[in-house]
Symmetry: T
Subunit: 67 residues, 12 copies
């Protein structure tokens, strides 16, 4: 049946950058899912407090090989 | 690593309204997933029998905090 | 040739709710088209008069089996 | 120069339904903007607490005639 | 609460066709998930080696009934 | 007034392939509509029974010249 | 049941402009359909011959009130 | 903080063309907003009366520099 | 191998109309590319100076047959 | 009437990063608008001079609570 | 500067299937472009003559490594 | 004929950030194309190895003035 991948959707958060928000989500998810191979960003938001950006939030899909 | 959320995609059904279809899906999923925080509607369909709407079907994504 | 369905696009209107606007459109169209099987909502708008919503308007596609 | 309309984007909230969330936003905005004529729903989300939907949130655009 | 479905996202691969790539993904996923009912194709890609297509890759969502 | 085309939307079904599903829909529709000139695929779904794909379903628009 | 509208999809063509292509399609369709009320442009293409634009082609949806 | 622009959304109308509808909206808005720099068309519709196009309506976003 | 077309993406500009902006881009590109067959408009923008539209800008794809 | 939010659309610019471009826009807008709560990125562009990126430009929507 | 890829857009045609239409386009383009690595399908159309599908047309993007 | 721009599509890669991935692609392409003026990000992906992000990949369009 060849290879099959499954995609999951995650929301990562960082106070510093979208790159760190992505890494946070991938590293968090990797604790329970092995073999994540690639990701795709689908949305980028954030939180504002007192006129300052306090959180960068990224929605992404990450794919891993199904056993 | 901060907080990470995971999104799942559900299809809820009701004979009465989209609001009830959403609640049905969320309550059903909450039996096995704890900590659902928000949802986003992505599609709204329905079933027609003999010229009458018999089902409102909603596709939604719901997010919960990853441990 | 198997089954083939045709989709038509309708705009339904209600003073009360989107669910009623959908039912209105389906029931109206069913007077001349038999065998409507399902619908898909594509847009939701409405009319405002004097600061109050007076109409809920829904654009939907409905499908029926071709003879 | 004929008529010109301006569109604004609002987020309305209700504990009961999307229709009420829309009406809430329109009535709230109508306190400072006169002559709102129509609206278009662009997104539908909501909040979940303890496995139950507690808020229906709607994003919509509303248009009014420019003086 | 009526019926609720869950959708998962898969990537299937075949050297021959998109239909086979879809079947591969569905049959692979069916080994661990029971009751898959329908699927929806969202993307179609592929791999090229030495000027020849060597893989057809399909991204699809598949839905199954939640217990 | 020059040439004008009308587009209709169809859903075709095949047990074998999307190409056959398209041909089925076009040939079925051609029994009552003359002069279909081109088509555009808009969605591809399918049915799953017992872990196997049993139907390829295609949504397409087909255009014909208005008299 | 209130008012219901039906939308049809047309392709209009002109050698001069998109506005004329739209008018051509609407006037052509109006010969067999009464009560067209509004239209929405969905695509704009055209034909090129010997490095010159020879046709402006517009895809539009037009709506009329269902009896 | 560098330059920041704000975008507003307008609907312009003309009996003659989309270009005139755009100019009408921009000139109307320029009476109260200074420094509009560019616009982007997002939708094109129109009105039909007795089988003839009587209005070209354009939805556009226009941007101006924030003080 | 049958016919193959290649699409290129262009931005055309005119002080007068989108139709002229399209023609400008096609005629400019035709000086180096032979056999352009059709085009598809993807975006329409423009420039504003002192409250007046001074440029209509169109983004389009144009296709030509590969040798 | 519950809470209502209004969304505005901004374009922020930075020579260094999209995160700084977002912060620039939010801080600039916060000088006249109080209570901005969240933002959503909708587009990311930039300027190129002599083969080097000289500006990162971000289009975003920011929301604040209506009084 | 790391690796950079360039994407080109092609239209491939086959009388038999979309897979063959893709292969035709890739093999045709590979005569002048070396190192094509992957492709992504963006549209699927076709031609109809006398009520039968006579051409499957696929629009795809193909990527190759820049020297 | 006024100015005409051509857009090309590139994929840039960086181990550090999307900003660097963009700069890499633009600087690489600038070795053979003169006069690149602006770019637009269309997709953001990346590669994951052993639970860590190892590549940020950006898909972008860049435009240059046609001679």
């Amino acid at each position: 049946m060849g290879k099959t991948f499954k995609k999951i959707e995650l929301v990562g958060i960082s106070e510093k950058s979208y790159e760190e928000a992505i890494s946070n989500a991938i590293e968090h998810a990797s604790k329970s899912i092995h073999g994540l191979s690639w990701f795709e960003v689908s949305e980028q938001h954030g939180k504002i407090v007192d006129g300052h950006v306090t959180e960068f939030q990224v929605v992404l899909k990450a794919a891993f090989k199904l056993d």
